[in-house]
């Protein structure tokens, strides 16, 4: 009887001990799980990755702006090589390592095929003109074991001469050019000023006035350029655009309509 009672007593205490161990173990695991995110300070690494990502996209803009103004085909490669070095300097101690792959060959973007070389492409002197840059960037951050985070980024400037019309109504003779401008997205650029454009008719630079509005005719945001006192039908229209980012493109057409209404 005494043995049986002692065994029963030990069982309850052992059960309580086991229960305590289980409570402590499960609580420790749960606590570790819920506080893991906070302990690792992910926010810092997320902001670093995001900052590098945004800056790399901006670098594509800077490279494309330089290329369209100087036609130096290797400028983007040079900038990215410097960028790889400078990112390490900007975030010392994080083990940030950057690599890149510039677009090459024919790639399609927004319904058009562009022939890239060293991440840069341009199709100028056509009715619809483009300037574009494209690259894939890879980020490693050794301090947190982040490896192989990559993203593709591209920059585009597209200008379309929708219509060019020479109006000859009695003594009033002028040319109207209707232009739409898009950037990557695709997204209509609506913040351009007169100073962003340059116009040539039959190869000669012209003074002009400009209006911008949403056109129901085209169903698009339109820049309307007017060149006054044009006595004869011009043989060509050339519009040069340099946007607020410094990216340039040139549209050209010989298809000019004539109207006397």
């Amino acid at each position: 009887m005494r043995m049986a009672r002692e065994k029963k007593g030990q069982f309850i205490i052992i059960a309580a001990l086991l229960l305590s161990i289980m409570i402590i173990s499960i609580s420790t695991v749960i606590y570790g799980t819920v506080t893991y995110y906070r302990q690792e300070r992910w926010e810092e690494y997320v902001t670093i990755v995001d900052s590098i990502k945004t800056a790399s996209c901006n670098l594509l803009q800077v490279g494309l702006a330089n290329y369209t103004q100087t036609l130096n085909q290797s400028v983007l490669r040079g900038y990215f090589n410097l960028w790889m070095r400078d990112v390490r300097k900007a975030y010392p101690g994080f083990g940030v390592d950057l690599s890149y792959n510039l677009a090459s060959g024919i790639r399609s973007a927004y319904g058009v095929s562009l022939n890239y070389s060293l991440g840069l492409a341009r199709t100028w002197n056509q009715r619809v003109s483009f300037s574009a840059s494209d690259a894939t960037v890879n980020i490693d951050i050794a301090s947190v074991g982040l490896k192989g985070y990559n993203f593709s980024s591209h920059v585009l400037l597209k200008m379309n001469i929708r219509d060019a019309v020479w109006y000859s109504k009695e003594s009033k003779r002028y040319v109207l050019i209707y232009i739409s401008v898009d950037k990557e997205g695709p997204e209509a650029m609506i913040n351009l000023q007169k100073s962003n454009f340059g116009v040539k008719l039959s190869g000669a630079t012209q003074a002009f006035s400009m209006k911008r509005y949403y056109s129901r005719t085209y169903g698009y945001f339109i820049y309307e350029i007017q060149i006054s006192s044009i006595d004869a039908l011009p043989s060509s229209v050339e519009v040069t655009l340099q946007d607020t980012r410094g990216i340039k493109t040139v549209s050209y057409t010989t298809n000019i309509q004539q109207s006397s209404e």
Binding site: M1, K8, I12, Q39, T47, N58
Partner: protein, 153 residues
């Protein structure tokens, strides 16, 4: 002693033993829970506060950059405009100090870009710091590092 009285005594001591066992078991469980509470240090609100401010700071710089204004302000040294844009974009109770460096760590922004008294920064326990890179402007590659320090007033 009669047999009936002996059996009654045995039952009585058995019951007392059960009570003692139950008390001991309760003590073990209670001490385990107390142990957990004593050692499970809950994270203080300070790192969370810093993390929140970092997020706000990064988002504000990113928004100004997305609008194409950040590079213009930095490379044309429009420090007053940059300070104003930051003040407008940040919540009213968040104060900041912004310094612009070149890639070698030399400060570029000479005038102090700060919103809020220096005392707030000195006395605050949670100061968040955000680094943001701008690689260049227009056609020129010349990286600038913006170091933004934030406190809540």
């Amino acid at each position: 002693m009669t047999k009936a009285k002996q059996a009654q005594n045995q039952r009585s001591s058995k019951g007392q033993m059960r009570v003692i066992e139950a008390v001991m078991a309760s003590l073990i469980v209670v001490s385990a829970v107390a142990f957990l509470f004593a050692f499970a240090a809950t994270p203080s609100s300070q790192p969370q506060e810093t993390s929140e401010l970092e997020k706000i700071g990064h988002n504000v710089l990113h928004d100004i950059d997305e609008q194409g204004l950040l590079a213009r302000f930095v490379y044309r040294s429009e420090w007053a405009n940059l300070t104003s844009a930051m003040v407008v974009s940040l919540p009213t109770n968040v104060y900041f100090n912004l310094t612009v460096y070149d890639v070698n760590g030399n400060p570029i922004s000479h005038p102090l870009m700060q919103y809020g008294n220096q005392q707030i920064f000195d006395s605050s326990k949670a100061v968040a710091s955000v680094s943001y890179i701008v690689p260049g402007y227009q056609t020129n590659y010349s990286p600038r590092i913006l170091v933004l320090k934030l406190v809540r007033g």
